[in-house]
């Protein structure tokens, strides 16, 4: 059914007339339909999948014809969002489109809770002069998650409705139409998906485990918690971009199909590339640096990162969104650390100030401590961290890398002492860093590299890069890397390269740690890990 040609009339009068005529026709049809429907009701409700013929203008109380844009109704019917239903709209007659969250019939009344994203409102359908008994029964039999349009009057309530987000009003429904019906059997119940873990066990009510959620992601994403998480994640991305653009950075796009593995051979995905094969990029490292050598000075990029790590942990994905920064500096790589930490602090401040609703919503299901940070960001040196760990009873060598439990312990010690969940650890030992890390000029055992931690887990690994082709070759040989494979990389530094440094963070991990969640799959919309390729 294509766009109706009768609306193409250019003259307003003609348009208005045809609209009026159509309206009148519809009203009459509705009246007739209501009468006819009273007898034929039960039959239509029993059918599970109902598709009415397209040209059927006669609207039964239940099912509207299939909305595939045959009719442009925006002029005469404005839909009000559930979140805008406030006491100011009391006594107004409005149309609302929402999903049925729950429905409960009690004799001559039917209570519906309508939901749109994070907002819910109570709607009441009572037998009276506007609604017949069959209509109430019809509403009670509607399946959960069906999308409906209701015409209702907004009424103020004396007692707050605690279970809904819109606590001061309820809707008194006069007309109800189904836009899209849901199957009766849902793979998971939304109330169960939002229930906190402990509460579920205590009261013997169900919670939904992660695999079920991920298999039915479309429904799981409808929960208030998921909506809040991903809105916040969108905020992280936006704040990242805005802060960096304000600092004069340029956003770049780097290729993801590359000829040689950048970080190390083991964890790359291979793709067939015509007659040969290619790899999926593990990080935009190479290209960020080439942009610096190409005089862009300050660049960042947001894009997917592919790591073929066979790790089934709470914080590893095979595909995630990387937010990467690279910056040329004037005299010392600390200029770059300051820039990156300032960006992170701006992101944290932005989330704290503008996304409190979302943070509270997530905390209802997953309680956690609010995220704390210092401005300017705390920067400790690796040696201090080793001293702190040793004082706490950990035995470790001076040049030993931090294991994950040690990182967590360090996070706790720093939290104890400085009361911050975010800090930088500077001057890592050279032996545990990649070959392109610039060694510390004052101490050959250490390097100009740094890691940043949130809640005791690493979110960023960065360093000053070696920008001299000669030194880079030496370092690569020292690490036993095949020079042929990185020839293009080394060549980019042969024609004048400014000193530069940078780092990259994972969007999902940062969101997870900011909210105090425990599994990165909760903050990835359609996560990919060694065991999951769908949805």
């Amino acid at each position: 059914c294509v766009v109706s040609s009768c609306f193409r009339a250019s003259e307003e009068e003609q348009q208005a007339q045809s609209k009026k005529a159509l309206k009148k026709q519809q009203k009459e049809a509705e009246k007739a339909a209501k009468k006819a429907e009273k007898q034929a009701k039960l039959v239509s409700v029993r059918q599970e999948t109902q598709t009415l013929p397209m040209a059927h203008h006669c609207r039964m109380e239940g099912f509207l014809f299939f909305y595939n844009s045959c009719d442009y109704k925006s002029a005469d019917r404005a839909l009000v969002r559930v979140q805008d239903l406030t006491p100011e709209k009391a006594e107004q007659q409005i149309w609302v489109r929402a999903r049925i969250h729950t429905s409960r019939a009690k004799g001559k009344q039917c209570f519906l809770v309508l939901r749109h994203q994070q907002f819910t409102v109570q709607a009441l359908l009572a037998v009276g002069d506007r609604a017949s008994k069959q209509m109430v029964k019809f509403a009670a039999n509607l399946t959960k998650e069906s999308i409906i349009d209701v015409e209702a009057v907004v009424k103020k309530v004396e007692q707050k409705i605690e279970s809904c987000s819109q606590q001061d009003v309820e809707l008194h429904v006069e007309r109800i139409f189904v836009i899209s019906q849901s199957e009766a059997r849902l793979p998971l119940q939304l109330e169960d998906a939002v229930r906190p873990e402990g509460e579920g066990d205590e009261e013997g009510r169900a919670t939904v485990n992660q695999d079920t959620r991920l298999d039915n992601r479309v429904i799981d994403l409808r929960t208030t918690t998921s909506q809040a998480i991903f809105r916040l994640q969108s905020g992280v991305c936006q704040l990242f971009r805005d802060t960096l653009i304000n600092k004069g950075f340029v956003e770049i796009q780097t290729p993801k199909i590359i000829s040689a593995a950048s970080e190390g051979g083991a964890n790359v995905f291979t793709v067939s590339y015509f007659k040969t094969s290619a790899y999926l990029a593990q990080s935009p490292q190479l290209y960020k640096q080439m942009c610096i050598c190409a005089d862009f000075d300050k660049v960042f990029c947001v894009g997917p990162v592919f790591r073929a790590e066979d790790s089934n942990t709470h914080r590893h994905l095979t595909e995630f969104v990387g937010l990467d920064i690279e910056m040329a500096f004037n005299y010392h790589y600390h200029e770059v650390i300051d820039s990156i930490t300032d960006t992170m602090v701006q992101i944290f401040k932005g989330l704290r100030d503008r996304f409190q609703t979302e943070i509270q919503t997530v905390n209802k299901q997953y309680p956690s401590e609010p995220f704390k940070f210092l401005e300017p960001t705390l920067r400790l040196e690796y040696k201090e961290a080793v001293a702190m760990l040793r004082a706490a009873g950990v035995e470790m060598g001076d040049e030993e890398d931090l294991s994950t439990p040690n990182e967590k312990l360090l996070g706790r010690l720093v939290k104890e002492k400085y009361d911050t969940d975010f800090f930088v650890l500077d001057k890592y030992p050279l032996a545990v860093r990649p070959f392109y890390t610039m060694p510390d000029p004052n101490n050959a055992k250490y390097s100009n590299s740094y890691d940043m931690f949130m809640r005791g887990e690493e979110i960023l690994s960065g360093a000053q890069r070696v920008h001299d082709a000669q030194l880079l070759t030496e370092r690569a040989m020292h690490h036993g890397i095949d020079l042929e494979k990185i020839k293009a990389y080394i060549d980019s530094f042969r024609y004048g390269a400014p000193p530069h440094a940078g780092g990259g963070i994972g969007l999902e991990r940062v969101t997870m740690l900011y909210l105090g969640l425990h599994n990165v799959r909760q903050t990835s919309m359609f996560p990919r890990d060694p065991k999951r390729l769908t949805p």
């Binding site: 210092l374 300017p376 702190m388 004082a391 002492k417 400085y418």
Partner: protein
Amino acid sequence: MPMYKVKPVSPGDIKIDLPTCMYKLPNTHAQGMNCGEHALQNGEVDPALKALEERQDEVLRRLYELKATVDGLAKTVTTPDADLDASTLSRGPTESVFRGTADLDSLLGKDLGALRDIVISANPAHPPLSLLVLHALLCQRYQVLSSVHVHSSVSAVPPPLLSCLGPRHIDSYARQRFQLGFTLIWKDGERVKREQH
């Protein structure tokens, strides 16, 4: 009146062969109990039993004391840093960890290369002015790396408070060059807290 006579079912003098593998218990039904048992049945307490009870009480008491000691230790272990309420420091004689400058020197001598940091949290609404004096004194004697941070619990701090410890040191990028760190955190809290590792 003569009663109905029943023939005896078993003769009263059967010889029972007692098994030797079981242990013998004294016959409770036999006559002739000794005086001690008789006394017990009257409610008086055997002195041996009383001694046992006292021992048990003693053990329980020691257990409670031990538990209290462990609890106290646990508190100090989880917060290894001296978490002093410095608002009382100004009133009484300082009972700080620094018993003298000699102690501080020896403390700083350990862990070469790792900066020893003193962290002080204060509320910007009530800035502790004595801290500035302390800081100035420390700077006279040692190479102090001072830094000021604003905690996320506070939204804005007036600029003079941010630079109260003086301008940023030229060498502040190399923390290990300093003997002592002095970190001031402006935070939303009731008291001035000092933590030192």
